[in-house]
């Protein structure tokens, strides 16, 4: 008891330096090959500026936002953009200032926040999930926040109604990334919401950087990890909170990133949560609405470095083309990425062997995705970066700003950094958080939207040189809903390529539901077998390349 007494006292009071203490990287590489992206945000008419609400005190939520989504709000075939605004503390009911931009299809965007109803949404915003929860053929939105989250029902013409109360999905606490997924294969999208930690204004502390300057605290300073939330879709517009009955509430962590994926190929969708400074969670779907946490035994709770890292963003893709998805979790500076290769029964930390141990650890990474940006048939990797703690050396006026990273997928399943750093002609430096991925201009190259803290976002148009052939697949259920959870086996050029229909990955982001596949020199796709979320399969094809194709369940 005496021992506990001392620990209790000390754990409640200790504030140390935040962990971000790596030496600042050398001046970002500005030399190298041609650019892969150009930032066209301003030229496209996007005037959004993120506001963290930072004033005098260093309040932890200020350093974590904001979010972004790419989705087609009005079914015109072009991706529109939603920016999640953080806003101001202490003014509940005041609109956060989220912005919605409609893609005109000509390279420009129109701010439709007011007519869409988005401008009225209140709360200190964090992230966003997209999915057609009511199976009416249009994309609905779920905006996470510090406090109550918001479900916005789309009327199909780009107007949104707040249905949070009737749906019963407000949740509580500090929600971060969320994803829609059909966890019980009943044809209706359920909702998984990660939460960061139990934070309120009154528990905020004073922390200091190593150089003695007041700064944001590490989540370790609060020791208040939270459990995630799971809402089952009842099919009548409402959801039931099954966090407890499913087992999800049985484990806590500082949840930031989430992805739903059938990691063991049993036909049931599992959920991986990237936790910050606490071991990651892997919720294995046992059926009957139950989940079992098995990250440690599956080899993804921690990586070979032996301690929980600062898990931020996450993505899954079949990097080694063995038919199952591998995982990447991005972390704090000084900590490398964690690349977990799926061996079928468990995961193997293979970060060094894919070439990500060294280059990744220079920066603090948040948004992330494996995507074939140059359409050469191999997935590349993009990471959106920005510090969470002050360092002696700064790279821009914003002391938390860092350049982003782009890695090219090369032979042997390895990755090599692309220079100029981040793939733009001059490295862009900001405190980047969410990165949303999708083909904004429908030209077959995947573009990126990056939300930057207290700054304007990037809209990175893909201008990668000598892009290969491609196919963009809109995979739909009978209702016309994007078939989130469906798995595609694409046979082309003698290869079998796995892709998944999903919108929830990266960090605080929702992404293009369409499946993009780069094909290199291959000019024909022989067939595509879709395994739908309920386990049934259908075969489609053949397909000509360099086009967008709809695949609808028969």
């Amino acid at each position: 008891m005496r021992k506990h007494f001392a620990v209790l006292l000390l754990s409640a009071a200790a504030c140390g330096a935040p962990p971000g203490n790596a030496p600042a990287p050398a001046t970002p590489a500005a030399t190298g090959g041609p650019a892969w992206f150009e930032n066209v945000a301003a030229a496209s008419g996007i005037s959004f500026e993120h506001r963290s609400g930072h004033d005098k005190r260093y309040l932890l939520p200020e350093i974590m936002g904001g979010g972004a989504a790419l989705f087609d709000m009005d079914g015109d075939g072009f991706l529109d953009i939603f920016f999640v605004q953080s806003g101001m503390f202490g003014s509940p009911g005041t609109p956060a200032g989220h912005r919605l931009y409609r893609n005109r299809g000509d390279g420009t965007f129109e701010d439709v926040s007011n007519p869409s109803g988005i401008a009225d949404v209140a709360g200190y915003g964090m992230g966003i999930a997209t999915g057609d929860y009511d199976n009416d053929g249009d994309v609905d939105l779920y905006v996470t926040a510090l406090g109550a989250n918001v479900l916005l029902q789309n009327d199909g013409r780009g107007h949104f109604t707040d249905v949070t109360r009737s749906a019963g999905v407000a949740g509580s606490g500090w929600s971060t990334s969320a994803t829609f997924a059909d966890i019980d294969a009943d044809g209706r999208l359920d909702l998984f919401v990660t939460r960061y930690l139990d934070w309120r204004l009154e528990v905020e502390r004073e922390c200091y950087s190593l150089t003695g300057i007041i700064d944001y605290c590490s989540p370790r300073n609060y020791d208040a990890p939270a459990s995630a939330l799971l809402f089952r879709n009842n099919g009548n517009g409402s959801f039931t909170d099954i966090s407890r009955s499913s087992g999800i509430a049985g484990a806590v962590g500082n949840g930031l990133g989430v992805i739903a994926d059938d990691v063991n190929g049993d036909g049931r969708v599992d959920v991986f949560v990237a936790n910050d400074a606490t071991p990651n969670h892997l919720w294995m779907n046992a059926g009957n609405g139950r989940f079992a946490e098995s990250a440690l035994m599956s080899g993804v709770a921690i990586d070979q470095d032996g301690a929980p890292k600062a898990g931020m963003g996450v993505h899954a893709a079949d990097v080694d083309e063995d038919g199952d998805n591998d995982l990447i979790v991005v972390n704090l500076d000084t900590e490398s990425d964690s690349f977990f290769r799926n061996s079928g029964k468990f995961f193997v930390d293979d970060t060094a062997n894919v070439g990500l141990r060294i280059a990744s650890r220079r920066f603090t990474r948040f948004g992330v995705a494996f995507t074939d940006f140059d359409n050469d048939g191999r997935v590349d990797l993009y990471e959106a970066n920005g510090r969470v703690g002050l360092q002696a050396e700064t790279l821009a006026a914003d002391p938390y700003a860092e350049p982003n990273l782009l890695f090219r997928g090369v032979a042997g399943g390895r990755f090599e950094e692309v220079t100029p750093r981040g793939g733009t002609s001059q490295p862009l430096i900001a405190t980047s958080r969410a990165a949303a991925f999708g083909d904004v201009d429908n030209d077959g190259g995947v573009d990126i939207v990056v939300a930057n803290r207290d700054a304007a976002p990037y809209l990175l148009r893909n201008v990668a040189p000598k892009r290969g052939h491609w196919l963009l697949l809109r995979v739909l259920e009978r209702s016309g809903r994007d078939a989130i959870g469906a798995t595609l086996s694409i046979i082309a050029g003698g290869r079998t390529i796995r892709r998944d229909v999903r919108t929830g990955y990266s960090y605080l982001a929702a992404n293009d539901p369409r499946v993009h596949v780069g094909l290199g020199e291959v000019t024909k796709v022989e067939s595509i077998t879709v395994r739908w979320a309920d386990g049934s399969s259908e075969r489609f094809g053949p397909f000509e390349v360099d086009r967008t194709v709809d695949i609808r369940r028969k």
Binding site: P23, E202, L210, G306, Q391, A392, E393
Partner: protein, 399 residues
């Protein structure tokens, strides 16, 4: 080193570079330069530096294992293996080289060899949790799931903490508020309360208006058993801001520790009212109830604490103790085992298991649990008495 220790890493690197130019024969400066370069991701330069360090200090084992780790980061397992072999040869009693060799085996998929190396290492240096974690990884890959589970749970809190005197010496140059605060915290954790209080008092002179620091000092007084001094600091804070949770918790703890259960109950109740969902507040209020003999109320609060923070094994341990006092040994054991599922190395829970087995006459199982407690937490203050009690009773029963 002063610059490096205080986070001015670019300036530190420049100075190490200058020092290397001034004295090429001294390997330590180049070693520090190499470490900083590796942290910057400049692995080629770091490896070139470490080669030169090894040329000048061929018997310094940490240079070898660092070289091995950096080579492994690049995926160069063959050269890493040679580096770790050198480290193991130079410092055979140090786990670093041997663990590094196991890492090489794992990176090459040589799981049987990795397991053998780690089993040998753990036999020589029991309790190395990072080695246990790697062993669990090897077992998992070998399909030895039961063994893997135990090793992974035990090793889940482990990370390499290998001896490196040329790095350790940097820490002594830490200066400034944050460093002093950290040192005060460390002293408190080591139960050197007077030294910690002295340091915090110094800090308050630097920042007389820092309320959080004042609360922290009050907490340290409470931890030191000096509840009057704690109250002199914390009561005014609470009077000015009745929602001050930490100050309220500290005073509740201080009064509990001093045996003033009425005051402890008053402050613990206030803390719980301030944060009804706080596991710590529920634990503390439950503890006060327990000390007051109100076990039913204590049980309810320990249950609430366990629900609020599923990671925490302690509410289960205390529930086990309460149930043991009520002679409900099977229920008690279930609670101790619940605690062990969260921390398999928790001495109090292992002793609890031993006690429940002893109470039901299962002497062999009691002795096994005691031995596990001895291995897991040899310094547990309850262990000597528990051993004496249980082993004496076992001998008597067997006569």
């Amino acid at each position: 080193m002063g610059l490096e220790a205080n986070g001015l890493l670019v300036q530190a690197a420049e100075n190490y570079q200058r020092a290397v130019r001034l004295d090429e024969t001294e390997p330590r400066w180049r070693y520090r330069q190499a470490v900083l370069r590796a942290r910057r991701g400049e692995h080629d330069a770091a490896l070139a530096d470490i080669e030169q360090v090894i040329a000048r200090a061929s018997d310094y084992a940490p240079a070898r294992w660092r070289q091995g780790l950096w080579l492994l980061d690049r995926g160069d397992a063959a050269k890493a293996q040679a580096a770790f072999q050198s480290a193991a040869r130079l410092a055979p009693a140090d786990p670093a080289g041997h663990t590094g060799l196991a890492l090489v085996h794992l990176s090459k998929g040589e799981n049987t060899e990795a397991a053998a190396a780690l089993e040998k290492l753990l036999a020589a240096t029991p309790g190395d949790r990072y080695a246990m974690q790697l062993l669990g990884t090897a077992y998992r890959r070998l399909g030895r799931d039961t063994d893997a589970q135990f090793a992974l749970i035990v090793g889940s809190t482990g990370q390499p903490a290998w001896r490196d005197p040329w790095s350790d010496e940097v820490g002594q140059y830490r200066r400034g508020f944050a460093a002093m605060l950290k040192e005060a915290t460390q002293l408190g954790l080591e139960r050197k309360f007077d030294e910690s209080i002295a340091l915090l008092t110094q800090l308050i002179k630097l920042r007389p208006d820092d309320k959080a620091l004042r609360v922290y000092l009050g907490g340290m007084y409470a931890a030191a058993g000096k509840v009057d001094q704690a109250a002199a600091i914390l009561d005014p804070v609470i009077a000015a801001d009745p929602s001050q949770f930490d100050a309220t918790m500290h005073l509740a703890s201080g009064y509990l520790f001093a045996g003033n259960l009425d005051s402890a109950a008053e402050y613990a109740s206030r803390a719980l009212a301030l944060r009804p969902a706080s596991a710590d507040a529920a634990k503390l209020r439950g503890m006060v109830h327990w000390q007051q003999g109100l076990t039913r109320e204590a049980e309810a609060l320990f249950d609430a604490a366990a629900a609020a923070d599923p990671r925490d094994p302690m509410p289960h341990v205390w529930m086990g103790m309460i149930l043991g006092q009520q002679a409900r040994y099977l229920d008690a054991r279930a609670r101790f085992e619940a605690a062990l599922s969260k921390n398999p190395l928790l001495g109090d829970a292992l002793i609890g298991v031993a006690d429940t087995f002893a109470a039901t006459g299962n002497w062999n199982a009691a002795e096994v649990a005691l031995e596990r407690a001895r291995q897991a937490e040899p310094a547990n203050p309850r262990l000597p008495a528990a051993r004496e009690r249980i082993l004496t009773a076992a001998r008597a029963a067997r006569r």
